[in-house]
Symmetry: C2
Amino acid sequence: MDRGRGRRGGTALLLQKATNQLTRRTNERLVLRTIYERSPLSRADVSRLTGLTRTTVSGVVDDLIELGLTEEAGFGPSTGGKAPIMLRVPTDARHTVGVHVDDERISGAVVNLHGEIRQRASAPLRSRDGETAIAGLEALVDRLVGAAERPLLGIGVGAPGLIDTASGVVRWAVNLDWRELPLGERLARRTGLPIRVVNDSQAAAMAEWTFGHHEGASAMIVLKVGWGIGAGIILGGRLYQGDDSGAGEVGHIRVRDDGPSCRCGNRGCLETVAGVRGLLARATDLLASGVRSSLGEGELTLEAVAGAYREEDGLAAQVVMETAMALGRTLGTITGTLDIRDIVVIGPMSALGEGWLAAVRREARRSALPLLAERSTIRFGRLGPDVVELGAAALLMTSELGLVPAA
Amino acid sequence: MDRGRGRRGGTALLLQKATNQLTRRTNERLVLRTIYERSPLSRADVSRLTGLTRTTVSGVVDDLIELGLTEEAGFGPSTGGKAPIMLRVPTDARHTVGVHVDDERISGAVVNLHGEIRQRASAPLRSRDGETAIAGLEALVDRLVGAAERPLLGIGVGAPGLIDTASGVVRWAVNLDWRELPLGERLARRTGLPIRVVNDSQAAAMAEWTFGHHEGASAMIVLKVGWGIGAGIILGGRLYQGDDSGAGEVGHIRVRDDGPSCRCGNRGCLETVAGVRGLLARATDLLASGVRSSLGEGELTLEAVAGAYREEDGLAAQVVMETAMALGRTLGTITGTLDIRDIVVIGPMSALGEGWLAAVRREARRSALPLLAERSTIRFGRLGPDVVELGAAALLMTSELGLVPAA
């Protein structure tokens, strides 16, 4: 009878088998995500929330328990009969390595499923030369992979620039001189682990979305303001990357015709005006032109300007307002284009504090249709300086376990 | 036995019935859309493309034929056995009324399922007073509904401003003085037909996407440049409207600090600089300041400036380039933010032709990350002046028949 079937419907049988496996995997992901997001839940709760039958849920939960991805955790309240056994995803069931390649440092973290950091490591980025930077990155990854005490989902890397996440190729990292670098493939060959490479601001958006509590919204813009400026955009609960993974490259929007030249080849890019570099360059110019200030030329750092700004230094106030206005205008443009209410500002420039953010808000409001601008909120992020590492790790939680909806 | 079931599982039975109806409706839409997009197809083709069984497809096709939404149209090529009967959606199976409320006119069309216009009507917008404008709109709708010779899917209205498509309320049409106007509800009560109200640029994007042949892309930006400026954004094959249906309100992006005041309450909005109004105001200023030109002050219209520009008039060239640069910069900003390759420019300013568009392209390229800007194409739309009517009609083809993926 088997042979008869084989002759008649071999392909059909294979297809059926593939379909069954796909269904099983889909169900596993659905059940795991439901428990992850809403735990503690009983098997009956999971059945109710997913629409799967009790039998299917029981089978899937057994598998997840065997994989260590679900555990039983005491009894829930009885609704008349026997008290139900509650389920949850063990916080440390899996770990992920998240790496942040910054302009000056490479930082990495071993992250658990709730965004808690279990290990850390970092190293200075000794050279902007591509190969030296990669060697440093590989050494750091080796250390973190070696240090991990739980099964690893994989490695997520957030780096500045234009990155093709599907292929893991860094197309162009303007500030790192990386071009067409197959970073994902190299790390995969080295470690044998799943790898996701993503733009740093896009990673940050994934982190704020996944671990930063977004309260029911389905869209969010995360603007990262440091030496570079970039945005990560969440639409419909997913990371939006655009046609070529370049969505959110707002740092190279032209904001000033006579602005400083940028490494990208254009002039007056937002990040040359409103980022740390723009802030310090402008302060230097004003000092040189004789504007009085408590700041000395030799000590011009973001921290020094932030301190002087808090002390109501006039020069500091002027440069801080100027950067805030350029940034606010760009945010107004983005609000007018995308109509997203929840706008999150993160990155080193956040050190300038609430006064700077208030100026950004004011200018954003003047730069878009009032009815749209009124409804948007511009706030600081809820995660700390590890936001890129966390977001890069969250990408693996998506690709490997389906815990966060995929792009 | 029925009673026994009823007692035990009344709700379950109802749910099952609702689920069956939903499945049936989903299957009908899937089959109809498949035939619409890929016809002529045989029943076997439909089964293969949809993954539905032959029996299900046959049942659904019978229903669609009875509804007049599908017809048999000759025989396809035989693949050995009997030649299969081919199916298609009759072009005029349903009609839709599409209406475009412009700043100066209301235009309407009866549109078939392939975007062909069967009837037209239009009327001047005699007053910007809300009630007078609505009365004119209602009269036009009555005429078109009366003139329709096929079953109508409903009425789609594209109007300028911030419109909540879900509720059919015009939140704020800056140039029409409409505020919180429940247009959808009024038209529904008057006609008894399904109504969709949408921003005019969003409607135009739906039209270019549905009827303009987009060749496999999944995203598109349609920029409408006339007295007002607005964009419609297609993402993932669907109209993207944002948190408050305001996506694409780029006309009120601030582009010039010292720019003209805008009816929205801000200054220097893109549409006051780069739209028809900005073009003519700038030409008037230059003439008044003594710049020589073949243009006379009394005859300043878009057509006159376009003509003078073609004749290489210096003043015309200057104002055309200035508007192109403001527009190009905004497009660069949008490209940098969204990373969408296919950018379509439509609207009255298209009369300025290829020279203007080339200047828009140049400036857009200078205003975004080169690697992103290089890949985007900026082109004129493929549909004529009826683009808003067509897009408003396409919305009904989505909501009523599922022929185009919904937002």
